[in-house]
Amino acid sequence: MLKHRVFIALTALEMLVLSLLFFFGQIRADHLLATELPQLRTTAGALQLTDLAIWTEARYTRHPSQADRFTPFQDFPSALEHFPAGSIIAPSSFGRSNQ
């Protein structure tokens, strides 16, 4: 009757570690929301940034919010999408709401 005790103890330990990670993660997120993120938001506001600098390989991946969903195909009719990030990111919601 030892194995089930070890299993229950290990499972409880895993749950405890995970709960502690989530708990301290929440504290860290709150801390960042109070310290670093407002500074970043000020920077974004002051520079009037509209997008995150994640994918810098093409115009429409660098500024997805400023591009149409058909931008990858503007080079010539029925041009193929050829940037990898273009298949990773979803089309802008702008295209659906305003076009």
Binding site: H4, L40, T43, A44, Q48, T56, R59, A85, G86
Partner: protein, 384 residues
């Protein structure tokens, strides 16, 4: 007590086939870790985008020509300024620069009059011609810092030298990694922009409720323009990182399919050894319900261990190791790619989704074939 004994037997049974079960736990943990990493990463990016871009321009007005984004005349700004409810109109100059030295693209932007001391900038913004501020990514790939020179080739194919007066801190890389901020006239000269044109126009609106109305008025008065509202910018990022985005579909679905194959393999049959074990248990008087309970606990032991280990791995991977293993998948051809230093925003709903997507199917796929073996004649089961 009865359940503990059954659990004890189930664990003994798992340990008897320890290598096989260990292999299953490793594959299972890897699958859960992949699923959870994608969910943690996209949720955190979505939350950060939502928070950071909340001060983006209320409206950005672009001009379209032949379906493409074109430079916009400054006089359009005057027309927009006269629309009731418009507080401020700010023509913006910016563009892209391909750096052939390192095959990277930069975003070049003018320094705006409203720019003051920025908390995320070491040094200062450019104030005089020949000065620039750069993102941490540009500083890293060009191996330059404060007071160094940044040389770029302008539209006339002439090399221009800019002195770096400011470098954005690496903590701001998610927003500023590829930025090069120049003084306005420098940017105009660099791209050879006509003096009466801007890249687009940022519009501030007095009453946020009127944003859509003003966007409609702009569209009516200037039919060749396209106003993009802040809510549309935020919606774009919600869409980029949502369940149906390409990032989720490409990695998440691949991991989910791998898990389905694992579960399917379990569900479509049990080994002759397991059948014999079930037959022996039936022959010595075990009820079918006892056998199902053993298999249930076996499934729970494997799937719960893999789920918890997978979640732990994913959390450490995304929030301590900056999603290092996912970076090559997401990066594409971007030479300048920010290191993710994300705030650990966790959505409990997503944890529940992962648990429901992985634990019940595995437990069911463990119990069902055993149930089939348990209801057959013990002798036939023992013969395999």
């Amino acid at each position: 007590m009865h359940h503990f004994k059954i659990l004890e037997y189930a664990l003994s049974s798992l340990i008897r086939r320890k290598f096989k079960n260990l292999a299953i736990i490793i594959v299972y943990t890897f699958t859960v870790a992949t699923l959870a990493s994608i969910l943690f990463l996209t949720h955190s990016l979505k939350k950060e985008a939502e928070y950071l871009l909340a001060d983006a321009p209320e409206l950005v007005v672009q001009r379209l020509s032949g379906g493409r984004h074109e430079l916009i005349p400054l006089e359009y700004g005057e027309t927009i300024r006269r629309i009731p409810g418009v507080a401020q109109v700010q023509p913006r100059l910016w563009g892209y620069y391909y750096d052939g030295l390192i095959d990277a693209n930069y975003t070049l932007q003018e320094v705006l009059p409203s720019h003051s001391k920025l908390p995320m900038l070491q040094g200062r913004l450019p104030q005089n011609p020949g000065e620039c501020s750069i993102g941490a990514g540009v500083a890293e790939v060009r191996r330059i810092g404060l007071e160094d020179d940044l040389i770029m080739v302008d539209s006339a194919n002439v090399g221009r030298t800019f002195t770096v007066t400011g470098v954005f801190k690496p903590e701001s890389a998610l927003l500023t990694n590829d930025l090069v901020i120049l003084e306005k006239q420098d940017l105009i000269d660099f791209f050879d922009y006509p003096a009466d044109l801007a890249t687009d126009i940022a519009v501030s609106v007095r009453n946020p409720v009127e944003i859509n109305t003003i966007a409609e008025k702009i569209k009516r008065q200037l039919p060749d323009t396209r106003p993009i509202s802040r809510s549309e910018i935020l919606r774009t990022y919600a869409a980029v990182f949502n369940w149906r985005s390409g990032m989720m579909l490409s990695v998440f679905v691949a991991a989910l399919v791998a898990f389905c194959i694992l579960a399917w393999d379990k569900a479509t049959g049990i080994s002759a050894e397991e059948k014999r074990e079930i037959g022996i248990l039936k022959a010595i008087g075990w009820e079918t319900s006892n056998i199902l309970e053993v298999k249930f606990w076996e499934g729970i032991a494997v799937s719960l261990t893999a789920l918890l280990l997978g979640l732990l791995t994913a959390y450490i991977h995304v929030f301590f190791l900056n999603a290092t293993l996912l970076t090559p998948v997401i990066k594409g051809w971007s030479v300048l790619f920010p290191t993710f230093r994300l705030a650990p925003f966790i959505d409990p709903y997503q944890i529940l989704v992962i648990a429901f997507l992985t634990v019940p199917p595995y437990v069911v796929s463990t119990v069902i074939p055993s149930w089939k073996a348990a209801i057959t004649d013990p002798e036939a089961a023992m013969r395999g």
